[in-house]
Symmetry: C3
Subunit: 273 residues, 3 copies
């Protein structure tokens, strides 16, 4: 049997077996598949009367959030994006095998930009600004993936954790300091403030779970509990976030009426040449 | 010998052997390498008199389409982006090994955004809109990759197929409903209509081939025929598409004269503050 | 032990051992970790008084460059993004195993777009233009990755090298011919000229090192020397580039005052409808 077949299949079947034998773990995944599916149907329904071009645009970006999320959880359930890591010396479980849901980091690299895009469109921020923040966000996810996959050194796992946090600080700075000004200028500061608070608080939870969970200090040694931690955060940061945003957009199409990104900032800070 | 060497090499040499022994299969790949190469030379020649900044921009985006395509087919021919999958229970070929050209999905994630970018620039759509549609398009390709690689469950292969189709619907909605209005405002509606029809019809062919081909229902069980299906669609959706677009741009530089994305929509729907 | 565990761990530990036993090689990696770390601290300090929105934006894009770079070198040092390739017949080291630092290509796909973004923001180029150039740049890095990983054919390694160079030509054309005009209009032509020269000269070094180094013609057969070649180029093209840019931005915030991308080109080439 060819080498790739053997590998791809062994990995997937091992992972599927491990997931099926752990009720806590499998419920943390299926719960999100179900909720993401419901969210997609609900959001399509909520968007039926959205007419203004810019409101439609925000609606489209928001709809992608549960679509990426359902893909992520189906990938974990199929075993395609799950692996087993032998922890390096220094780790609390050194030498033991730990399930790594590395697919989460990969799909966050696609879903979190959608969340930032929706927030940025709402606040009507400059397109270049959005580029930089999304690049930092992708850097955060990719270095998180590296932290999860390193088996050669405990210290390097934490080095990547720190670099990932540094990328996160760039994102936090934009959301907390820069974008609120744009949102005020765009007249969307109230809903932006709510969603920003939700995002900042919940996003802070991810590095905390990593640190105390099985991939970090392993104060919590249950794969199922760690997985539920991420799953619960995803429910708030993705479906609740998207629901609040869409409900507001559907009711305030006139406020988000104009279609071009960055128009407001252009007006408030005219070119000085 | 180190583990990675063994794996990387075994996979590539198995795939190369399988391709070389199947004339139908190898011709489906070499035909596209040849056509993509000719397209690159032709397009460079066609662009020699393009002067207007915006026309040059569309020309640049279009030139990338055959460049990505030639990379894709060289990757398949080298065996680097080809693998062997043992189909799960429930599939018509359950337990048998099937060649998976998974590299196609990966490179579509880079080439199809270029096609959408060229269409979007032509229709002069809002940049935020383009962002969302390209994100949905990448989601479509990545979930297609997942559908192709899952060996643990037949049902999950189709679950990913459905999610991929949902992303496709977002793209279709934009191309069919939203962008034509922008194209009319930009005065490019005739060529946009032609290219949109070509794109929609051919892109619908990809999920159909997946469904009836060897990765789906396996009504067609020949790897070579399935591969030719994708290759023929690529010829129309990539080189013919790009040729028609470039010929029009070269002859209508004055129509696509202004350099900024989204200017028209700004004019037709002014900010109401 | 599960198959993935075995593979992931064997690869990482082999690579780490090989790196630790080669002072030239390991110094080429640690030097960049140290310099990238210092650059991050220095750039945060240099940005403390940047207030103008657009200047802050360029500063943010520039800060990401050393952040991506430190991630790249930590990935190489951990062995996560390093592999061993058996060179195909025709190569000077045919049949021998050569260490491939494939992670370099992967992280260049994230770091070089940041450099182009910073250059593009400085020259105030059209956002669509930036899209196309960044897409070509990512194509360049991904085909470079393919060139590095192919073990089945010496000819295909060089075919990918040529395709990668074709993508590079698209990037070079934009930087050398198109963007200088925008930079002149934006009043940033002096610093743009300096950084453009630095970028073009150093970026030309990468394909040269590939060609003469161990992955290409193998005129230089030392992995450590080849690695130092890339590392030295990175020092100039990343940290020196970013330092010069930030020093200029901090001192010329008024010149880069206006926040919207592409405004100047719009003014110099008004829509003719």
């Amino acid at each position: 049997m060819p080498a790739t077949t053997t590998l791809l299949q062994a990995t997937q079947s091992e992972a599927v077996t491990a997931i099926e034998n752990d009720v806590l773990l499998s419920s943390s995944l299926w719960a999100n598949v179900a909720l993401a599916g419901l969210a997609i149907l609900l959001f399509v329904y909520m968007g039926r009367n959205v007419e203004a071009p810019r409101a439609k645009l925000i609606w489209g970006a928001t709809l992608l959030i549960p679509l990426v999320s359902i893909s992520s959880y189906l990938g974990l359930l199929s075993g395609l994006t799950v692996g087993f890591i032998e922890m390096p010396p220094g780790h609390a479980l050194a030498g033991e095998e730990v399930m790594s849901q590395w697919g989460r980091y990969l799909t966050w690299a696609l879903s979190t930009p959608m969340i930032l895009l929706a927030l940025g469109l709402l606040a009507d921020v400059d397109i270049g600004d959005l580029f930089v923040v999304i690049a930092a966000d992708i850097g955060m996810c990719v270095t998180g993936l590296a932290a999860a996959l390193i088996t050669s050194s405990y210290g390097l796992r934490w080095a990547f954790y720190l670099v990932s946090c540094a990328f996160f600080l760039v994102v936090l700075y934009a959301i907390l300091v820069e974008w609120p000004q744009s949102a005020t200028a765009a007249g969307t500061d109230e809903i932006f403030g709510t969603l920003r608070a939700l995002t900042v608080v919940l996003w802070l939870g991810y590095p905390i779970i990593w640190a105390v969970g099985i991939e970090g200090l392993a104060l919590v040694q249950s794969v199922g509990l760690t997985s539920w931690g991420y799953s619960a955060l995803d429910i708030g940061a993705k479906y609740l976030f998207a629901f609040l945003l869409l409900r507001w957009v559907a009711a305030n199409q006139d406020v988000v009426g104009q279609p071009t990104l960055g128009t407001h900032s252009e007006e408030t800070a005219p070119a000085d040449d």
